[in-house]
Subunit: 146 residues, 4 copies
Amino acid sequence: MTALSPAIDRKTRDSFARQALMTTFGATIADLAPGACTLSAPILPIARQQHGVGHAGLTFALGDTAAGYAALTLMAEEAEVMTVEMKINLLAPAQGDRLIAEGRVIRPGRRISVVTAEVFAEAAGDRALVAILQGTMVPVTARSRT
Amino acid sequence: MTALSPAIDRKTRDSFARQALMTTFGATIADLAPGACTLSAPILPIARQQHGVGHAGLTFALGDTAAGYAALTLMAEEAEVMTVEMKINLLAPAQGDRLIAEGRVIRPGRRISVVTAEVFAEAAGDRALVAILQGTMVPVTARSRT
Amino acid sequence: MTALSPAIDRKTRDSFARQALMTTFGATIADLAPGACTLSAPILPIARQQHGVGHAGLTFALGDTAAGYAALTLMAEEAEVMTVEMKINLLAPAQGDRLIAEGRVIRPGRRISVVTAEVFAEAAGDRALVAILQGTMVPVTARSRT
Amino acid sequence: MTALSPAIDRKTRDSFARQALMTTFGATIADLAPGACTLSAPILPIARQQHGVGHAGLTFALGDTAAGYAALTLMAEEAEVMTVEMKINLLAPAQGDRLIAEGRVIRPGRRISVVTAEVFAEAAGDRALVAILQGTMVPVTARSRT
């Protein structure tokens, strides 16, 4: 696999750094490659549901964001990325030390990119798949966004 | 439409109150009726994406939660609710003063409930549909959760 | 609601008439209006599953097609329509005399249209909701298709 | 991987043989293993859309059925399988000699099984991914079906 160009790498990390919700969740980019993005985040008390495990909204936000930035790595340099739609199946409670979201591009496209993500919960070295996502991303430019 | 029983009303509001993520987002229950739940939340700076509008994770979390509590109002008194899967289509940027998420049960069931939600952005009295969701909820009991 | 222009009406019906699968299923256009399309089809023996009711593939095909032609009515005259993605929740067995699929555009767009459909089973005058669909359609032209 | 028990193998193939829609489409089981099912079908003229390629309803039906029978291989011997919901993303036109649908269980469950499928189009030895599916299956028994 070819490495990510420095310009795309920088653009993607800059965009991620401006996502306040990711900062709120304590999420960081663990890995970034052409067509792939892995995020890591603790399961903070502020992001839990009524039984003390991670809220589906947390799991979704991480999976969706990992998938979106995976798509962005394959888009034109001036583009930003936007979620058109996303489907999540929740497989197990989001409990443990951290969530790891691995986004991947299944089919890049000029108009439409199809993406998936897997979200894992890590606890004491164990790793359990807690959710899978499948969705659609589109490139947006400053012009198309207004 | 029959009114919600006091016991179910109380159980649902108590469960919502324990969802730390909803507190983080400043969300409140605006309306609760059999098979329907409306949530209201500001678009806080902490929940935004890179362009300053609400993150898809915020919109999802509100829509999913409204749909889940709509389902819970029709479940047995000892049950809690869990999202099996949820699909979201994002229609417009989540910008404005508040998001309003209206969850609704399409078909309640003993094993499986099918739900939808619409999320609106309100700004200066205007109201724009920003997302639609369609998904599946299941009842869980203390026993089935462990 | 404004009426459908004769040109769009004709284009949509011509396109439907060329869908061999719809002919195979005995489906016809029951209603066509701007942003809306209703299909009607018998539950033919050739389209059933192992328990003698309509196959999920039949229900999906009717719902997806109704939603697609609903979207086509709002697209440019030279455009054809293509499904990007579609989610179906199946609520009840597809049994009875006919299936009725009502497609509707939730948000038309130059690049992307968001659509929904409801599929009903009719038997002896009764009508039961058997599926709901939510998805994304895009316009394609002769050029973008190749 | 352990082999499929003869009883489950027979039950699954018998169920498939009773799906009239699969017979209509000329589909056959190409491979069956615990948690996995591959179907193969020609792109018959009767199953095409307006541009002469396979209808989304064909692609969906094959993917959904492959995923469903993958789930059935892991269910109790008296159970049948039913689709609760399914999401499909269409990546490329379904054109060529045959469609191959590979269904797989991501997480089996007593109440709910999460499944995926990939559908490929084969033409002159080439193989292109044309769709991915992600959904939920449940076991049904003669009793729960009535």
